[in-house]
Chain length 318, copies 2
């Protein structure tokens, strides 16, 4: 019984899927499967079994998942405790949806770490579904993105902005005074990874406009989406303040689509007060400061690409 095996089991139990757990851990699926097999053999219990609704816990598994989760948590605590005792900077693991990770997180954390003594932050990309699990298993300290509702998770608004639909200046409807969703039926919709989640604001928008999946294309990030849109005849959702410069320069046009702009709220989520790490508490406090607000609203596509670190955690949409 190793901590690796227990962690694999906990993730499978919580995510209901070996594949998803493997994604979160950034390993191949047989790796998780065999860790699980070893644990099953060691404990003499199936722990999780296949069912139509995903992997389900056996009675033994149900009892184990809480214990195993605590052990994994304590493992993370142990490392953090030693680090602190030695005066090493706290590590802050932040996960965010792709859009947030691309534009908001880097300048925000840059400022935060420069202001806060001895905290070192890393950013990872994750889907919304994994976020509560990542927080609960201490694989992440803070999640930035949509509101999360799960027991033990504390989610509060971080910033508000507006979602619009943009097109290139050569798009047929570039000069129209009003655009109905139906009139866009010939255009392809370009989205970033976060847009593929049905529960996201972009996902909701696409559903509302009845955009079939084959008329969407997924790009690696919103920057890539917008430069593709500027060159071609496609449309894309966009955050108003992030494309403001492109719109002012005439490279992009905000289409006056009915039902837009859509108000969007981003949240910061952590474990509840008693269980969250000190660094996570500091970040939450920092996010309420005027300086943080300023950085968030000023953030635009001008962030150098080099600063965007590769995702720490493999994403759902990989």
């Amino acid at each position: 019984m190793t901590l690796t095996q227990l962690e694999a089991f906990v993730l499978v139990a919580r995510l209901g899927s070996v594949k998803a757990a493997a994604g979160v851990l950034g390993v191949s699926e047989p790796a998780v499967s065999s860790a699980l097999a070893a644990l099953r053999q060691h404990l003499g219990d199936q722990l999780v079994v296949r069912s139509p609704h995903g992997m389900e816990l056996t009675p033994g598994g149900q009892r184990l998942v809480g214990i195993a989760s605590q052990m994994v948590t304590l493992g993370a605590d142990a490392v953090a405790a030693i680090r602190r005792a030695q005066g090493a900077p706290d590590l802050l693991h932040v996960v965010a949806t792709s859009t947030v990770a691309e534009f908001m997180a880097p300048p925000l954390l840059e400022l935060f770490t420069s202001r806060t003594a001895s905290v070192e932050a890393t950013v990872g990309v994750s889907g919304t579904i994994e976020m509560p699990v990542l927080l609960q298993d201490r694989l992440a300290d803070v999640a930035l993105g949509p509101r999360l509702s799960a027991v033990g998770i504390d989610s509060s608004p971080m910033m508000r902005h507006k979602l619009v639909v943009v097109a290139g200046k050569r798009h047929p409807l570039a000069g129209a005074t009003e655009v109905t969703p139906e009139s866009l039926s010939k255009s392809r919709w370009l989205v970033d990874p976060a847009g593929t989640e049905p529960s996201s604001e972009v996902g909701q928008l696409l559903q509302r406009f009845n955009v079939p999946e084959r008329r969407t294309r997924v790009f690696s990030g919103a920057s890539a989406v917008w430069s593709a849109v500027a060159e071609g005849h496609d449309v894309a959702p966009a955050l108003a303040h992030l494309v403001a410069r492109d719109v002012a320069d005439g490279r992009l046009v905000v289409l006056p689509v009915r039902g837009t702009p859509v108000d969007v709220l981003w949240y910061v989520s952590t474990l509840d007060l008693s269980r969250r790490s000190p660094a996570a508490t500091k970040l939450r406090q920092f996010l309420t400061t005027p300086d943080a607000m300023h950085v968030m609203h000023r953030a635009d596509g001008s962030v150098p690409v080099a600063r965007f670190r590769p995702p720490v955690y493999v994403t759902l949409w990989s």
Copy 2:
């Protein structure tokens, strides 16, 4: 960072000695040392360092020991939880001082397990010093022997008996009406392993009589002691009710030594109520029943040797 390493660390921290930890775990001393080295390297902290008073914790080690202890505990809990979920019998690890392990524990646990559904008991021998640590790290559920005073440990009286001094019928003082301790200065004292602990009742007796260490000989068990005494010219401490038959048969003689018989109390110790295992609770309850009392007082040297299992844990005096 493995559970094995953490357990080694916790035992070293609590016992203040690598050697003692190795003894408790039943492995060689370099095994513990290297586990510790691996953990030190992994965490980048010395954790424990040599000092005149044994191994002492560094600041990092102090923080770790609580966390690590919880992890080890949870590891044991995990196994137990699965076992229960599957309806497998609970495992009850009992440790006892050598005298208790030799005479009291086997018939007692035999009766207990036959009366109590789905509990399986094993007995190990241990020194008094290790007992609190063994309980706290869940290496044992119940300790039988002297009273233990440590935080989180619940120790209550189990049985009372009398300690006397016996000799063979050919001993010069076999027929004396009164014997002073000084008059025994030519005799060797034979003791069982538990008698080597200065804090034990036998240890106290020897101290009180100023018996130098070279005039004692340690035997593997009290039975061996008494049969050696019956044949030779040595003396030994003995539990009155256990040698009653030998005395009645004339093979042993109770010497009328001043200061004897000594009243001795044996205790049953477990973690406190909230943290002890269900099986441990059941055993405590069982010990208060008339049947249990009866077995304890009737127990004599007639227990077949085959029933005495080899110690699970290597003893201090090995």
